[in-house]
């Protein structure tokens, strides 16, 4: 069913980078998304390079400054169960816990979750669409009930990752290794809109790998939360999601991140709404105003006007669970 490919296990990051330099080589972490993509012919692979044996890419460690370094190969289940994650960055723990099903969380990794391909049913359904370098986005005319309300242009996907939304609210840093060495980018610069690059969801160049995801030390008073609305209670991608990371000092908000999920081709930060919180108490009127403002500028498509209300709903739920 899947066209034949070579399978190699890399033992180190360097070896993986070398192996991935060959044409049509794809990294496999948990392979829960990779297999589906190959089977649905979203892309092809001549070689699949398993990252599974790379020790340096697993595990969660506390950094000297009190932050966390999470290896890209760390399973979502490990993240969910990790006391420091749950204690300091509950939004990430909640986002990871909301992914798919227990089996998929055992197998799926954080790096794979960030790098998974979109779930657009045209992209996945054998359509030669814009994201596959075809000339049309089928969601423009077709059934776009699950597509974006922000950031769409020539392609209308939403980013599928739950953890990406949470990590964006938490100001994570993504470390990358590749043929030209290593680099680190703030997660907000990791994801790209279709107007910048129509066929990739992130800045990874061919042969590049995500090696670690780092979280800065939580400021005193940081509270974070992830809310996900989906049609089923399990085994379902978000219809609308919100990650909020709010710092409250002496009863007032001093820093705020509000990020919408399943809203745009990338995790969608709503800075205007964030600014409205600064210096205020998180009371009900403020929450309502901010939730409404979060959707300013949304441009729903023919079949997804409901998403505006729903996203507003999850923002107000998220803020409500903090305030």
């Amino acid at each position: 069913m899947i066209p034949p490919f070579a399978y190699v296990r890399a033992r180190s990051i360097d070896e993986a980078v070398a192996l991935l330099a060959r044409p049509e080589s794809r990294p496999a972490a948990g392979a829960t998304d990779l297999i589906g993509c190959l089977r649905d012919e979203v892309f092809t692979a001549k070689a699949v390079v398993s990252l599974g044996g790379i020790e340096a890419m697993t595990g969660i460690a506390e950094t000297a400054d009190g932050g966390l370094r999470i290896g890209a190969l760390t399973s979502l289940t490990t993240i969910v169960k990790h006391a420091l994650v749950a204690g300091r960055y509950p939004a990430l723990a909640q986002a990871a816990a909301s992914v798919a099903s227990p089996q998929l969380r055992n197998q799926g990794t954080l790096g794979g979750n960030l790098c998974q391909r979109p779930r657009c049913w045209f992209f996945r359904g054998g359509y030669d669409c814009a994201r596959k370098a075809g000339d049309t986005c089928y969601a423009m005319q077709g059934d776009n009930r699950y597509h974006c309300v922000f950031g769409g242009s020539t392609c209308l996907i939403v980013h599928p990752s739950d953890t990406a939304t949470a990590l964006t609210a938490l100001d994570a840093i993504v470390s990358i290794a590749g043929p030209k060495g290593t680099r680190s980018v703030p997660i907000q610069q990791f994801f790209v809109l279709p107007e910048k690059d129509m066929t990739h969801e992130n800045v990874l160049a061919p042969g590049e790998l995500v090696t670690t995801i780092s979280l800065p030390a939580p400021r005193a008073g940081l509270v974070s939360v992830y809310r996900k609305a989906r049609a089923r209670a399990s085994w379902d991608f978000a219809l609308a999601a919100c990650a909020a990371a709010i710092t409250i000092e002496q009863g007032k908000v001093t820093a705020a991140r509000i990020v919408l999920g399943a809203a745009a081709p990338i995790p969608w930060r709503v800075e205007g709404a964030e600014r409205m919180l600064i210096g205020r108490r998180l009371d009900e009127p403020t929450r309502a105003r901010v939730a409404a403002a979060a959707l300013n500028g949304a441009t729903p498509l023919e079949h997804n006007a409901y998403k505006v209300a729903m996203l507003r709903g999850v923002v107000s739920e998220a803020l409500g669970s903090i305030g």
Binding site: M1, P3, S101, R119, W121, F122, G125, G126, Y127, Y138, Q141, G142, D143, R145, A229, A231, R232, A233, S234, W235, D236, F237, L239, A240, N304, A305, Y306, A309, M310, R312, G313, V314, S316, E317
Partner: protein, 784 residues
């Protein structure tokens, strides 16, 4: 499957015939069960261990020496003609042993019967839905077969497709079949009385429009078969609800005598109506096997089952009800439009039955319109048409209750029928549990208190709803022939043609024999679902298996008992009427010390076997046998996200005598879950704008409720009207009636919670939010 008039008349004919036959071991002289000791208990399935441990051999587990694996090429377009097909490269690929194209012998077997003969062929060059079969390959491994299918080069002429009801009926719509219009025949009118007069006499009327989505069966075991030729004989292990209909299909398609076709289906992993018969897959496998002279395994992919092997059609309905101020119905006007896909005119089959039969009403008019679209054909699905009809009728009844200022349960109680008004002969029901289901259900659920509870403030709203239903089938009917054997060691076996579709057929069959023969359930073996070794019976569908097989099993067991008692009476030198059987022994009722342990009974050992044949007797003449049910749901709706959670659920069912309370409850739980899917999440979505493909032909975009969604511990009230008229097992069908009111009950609860009615299924978060955003009119969509 009993879902249209023709079939129903057929059943009556059967009964007359069976009555005329002088069956030696019929059920005529046997009084119906009243109290039973074993039957009705809560027993785990006798094959539960095999099923959960993986030792049960399902058709998809069969491997035969030399077996090949097949894959099918399907059309990716909603409508296309194959201009050129080149399989030459595929045929030469490693491992490929057989290739079938539209040119191959046998590919022209007529397929899909229409009004004037068959409308398509096994492998057709005119493809009328995305998923239509074009070619097939058998190879040494599944991967080789799939690779070879991919290597077949097809040049298509892509034709315009139409997958929506309105679009299909538009003047210049592309023709699906070669008729003048995509309407499948004239709209069919059925009814009684004078509807106009009924509305004139009404003091209150309500009218509304409702729709349901297309629901897919999604059985866990895929559709498929392993087939092997044994000289001129074909043997097929096929995942089916009935081996005999499939025997027929294989024989017809391949021009074989019935006696040269053996179909075996010991285990099967779910069907819900989609496996009443084999499909193209079975015949394709047989042709490939013939070509390759090797056994062939052909199981469809999950995606292909979702495109091509059946669905519960989406239906659009309007209902107008008229009633007196006291709630007495005076008129029902109902119309429905649906599509059975590209090849079936059965888009609205069964949809009008509840408007015709559920409530007492002298004036009823129903009109059913069927439309062809470029989509996979429907197949019967758990209570065909009924959940859709209930969706409309039961929401309309709720709206009527509101307008009358009446309690919804009271309104329904006001209109309980005792004769089947939908049937030509106006037959009396042998039992109508509707009123009891309503009252017992309401009491146990705490309906009045829950309904009266003041809605809480805040974004999460709570509501309760009720809906009633009945199933047009569920009475069972001849034919069924059962053989029960008692052998030397005191164990027994049941030989029956019926498939166990997961409802515990084998288990209650054993329980019935245990009841009559006193042999413990775990000492009873079952042979079943094999056309070569068991006797003809229809497919396990229409909720007919229990009411069809149970009486015959009982009759066969009683016949064995008669023989055993005769032998024992001779041995003990008493009259047979003085004897009883219990716990593996025959004893003198008045003096239990005079006993024979059956497994040590010499005369039995010498004979080796006692054989009893039981035949399903005719139905009670001129009476209707129907199961009933009423469901109550309590839901929470989050008005911020539109998400609906079912908090509490109760199902009250009248299916007559309970065979096994555990498998009974399991049936009801599964049926509720399926109704929940129809109500809230399940909906086949087609790419109407472009290709006509199913966009969500996979298990995460097509949303069957998960274990976390399913109702936790629903309360199940088994109402037993002690129906000694329906059959000697005093029992009726359950699997279908239990799903019929479910979706409507949930819809009514959502409407109660929101004060706004979502009239289209599924009630997705999208629809809830859209309904909340729309200008507020109470009971949206229902004009009065």
């Amino acid at each position: 499957m009993i879902c249209n008039d023709v079939a129903l008349e057929g059943v009556e004919l059967e009964a007359a015939l069976a009555e005329a036959l002088n069956t030696p071991t019929g059920t005529a002289d046997i009084p119906a069960w009243t109290d039973t000791k074993v039957v009705g208990q809560r027993l785990p399935k006798i094959d539960a261990y095999e099923r959960v441990s993986g030792t049960a051999v399902y058709p998809s587990d069969i491997t035969l020496p030399g077996m090949l694996h097949a894959a099918v090429l399907r059309c990716p377009h909603g409508h296309a003609r194959v201009k050129k097909l080149d399989a030459s490269r595929a045929a030469k690929m490693p491992g490929v042993r057989a290739v079938l194209t539209p040119e191959s012998p046998g590919a022209d077997i007529p397929w899909y019967p229409g009004e004037k003969g068959y409308v398509s062929r096994l492998l057709d060059t005119h493809c009328r839905f995305a998923g239509d079969e074009i070619a097939a390959v058998a190879a040494d491994t599944p991967y080789q077969a799939f690779d070879a299918v991919r290597a077949i080069v097809v040049e298509y002429e892509v034709l315009p497709n139409v997958v929506g009801l309105d679009a299909a009926l538009a003047p210049n719509a592309p023709a699906v079949l070669d008729g003048p219009t995509n309407r499948a025949g004239d709209p069919r009118a059925q009814g009684r009385g004078d509807v106009a007069a009924g509305f004139a006499a009404a003091e209150v009327t309500v009218e509304g429009t409702y729709s349901t989505g297309t629901q897919l069966h999604v059985p866990i075991e895929l559709h498929g078969a392993v087939v092997r030729w044994d000289g001129p004989k074909l043997v097929a292990w096929d995942s089916l609800q009935g081996v005999f209909p499939a025997q027929n299909t294989y024989a017809r398609a391949l021009a074989l005598p019935l006696s040269n076709v053996r179909v075996i289906g010991h285990y099967m992993g779910g069907g819900f109506g989609s496996k009443l018969d084999t499909g193209k897959y079975g015949v394709i496998a047989a042709l490939l096997a013939k070509q390759a002279a090797r056994p062939v395994r052909l199981f469809m992919t999950r995606e292909d089952t979702m495109r091509a092997i059946g669905n519960r059609p989406a239906v659009r309905m309007t209902v107008k009800l008229g009633a007196k101020k006291d709630g007495t119905l005076t008129a029902i006007d109902f119309s429905c439009t649906g599509s059975g896909g590209a090849y079936s005119a059965g888009g609205t089959g069964g949809v009008n039955w509840l408007p015709l039969d559920l409530y007492r009403c002298p004036n009823v008019n129903t009109v059913s319109t069927n439309v062809y679209i470029h989509a996979g054909p429907e197949r019967p699905f758990r209570g065909p048409g009924h959940p859709q009809g209930a969706w409309a009728l039961e929401q309309a009844m709720d709206t009527l209750a509101a307008k009358l200022g009446m309690d919804p349960v009271a309104l329904r109680l006001k209109n309980v029928p005792d004769i089947s008004q939908g049937r030509q002969d106006q037959a009396r029901y042998t039992s109508t549990g509707l009123a009891t289901c309503l009252t017992e259900g309401a009491k146990t659920f705490g309906w009045t208190e829950a309904r009266a509870r003041v809605p809480q403030a805040g974004p999460v709203r709570r509501g309760v709803g009720v809906a009633a239903g009945m199933w047009r089938g569920g009475g069972g009917s001849p034919p069924a022939t059962i053989i029960v054997r008692l052998v030397a060691d005191g164990t027994a076996s049941v030989n029956m043609g019926a498939s166990d579709i997961g409802n515990g057929t084998k288990t209650w069959a054993a329980m019935i024999v245990a009841e009559e023969l006193g042999v413990p359930v775990d000492r009873i073996g079952i042979e079943h679902a094999d056309t070569a070794t068991t006797q003809y019976t229809g497919a396990s569908g229409g909720s007919k298996t229990v009411p069809t097989e149970a009486p015959a099993i009982r009759a066969a067991a009683i016949e064995v008992k008669r023989q055993l008692l005769a032998l024992a009476a001779a041995d003990l030198k008493v009259d047979a009427t003085a004897l009883s059987i219990a716990d593996g022994a025959v004893f003198v009722t008045a003096d239990p010390s005079k006993r024979i342990v059956i497994r040590q009974f010499r005369p039995l050992a010498q004979r080796g076997v006692l054989v009893g044949v039981g035949v399903r007797g005719p139905d009670t003449h001129g009476m209707a046998v129907n199961p009933w049910g009423v469901h109550f749901a309590e839901v929470e709706v989050d008005t911020r996200t539109g998400l609906v959670r079912i908090q509490r659920y109760l199902a009250a069912q009248d299916s007559g005598k309970v065979m096994n309370r555990l498998t009974y409850d399991n049936q009801v739980i599964g049926a509720i879950t399926m109704g929940q899917g129809l109500a809230l999440t399940e909906d086949r979505i087609m790419d109407a704008a472009h290709t006509g493909r199913v966009l969500n032909a996979n298990m995460h975009d097509y949303k069957v409720p998960t274990a976390l969604d399913a109702v936790v511990a629903p309360v199940i009230v088994a109402v037993d009207p002690k129906d000694t008229t329906c059959n000697i097992a005093a029992t009726k069908g359950l699997g279908e009636p239990a799903t019929i009111p479910a979706a409507a009950a949930i819809a009514n609860a959502v409407a109660h919670a929101l004060g706004v009615r979502v009239v289209d299924a599924p009630i997705s978060p999208q629809r809830v939010l859209d309904a909340l955003a729309a200008p507020r009119t109470p009971a949206k969509g229902v004009r009065s």
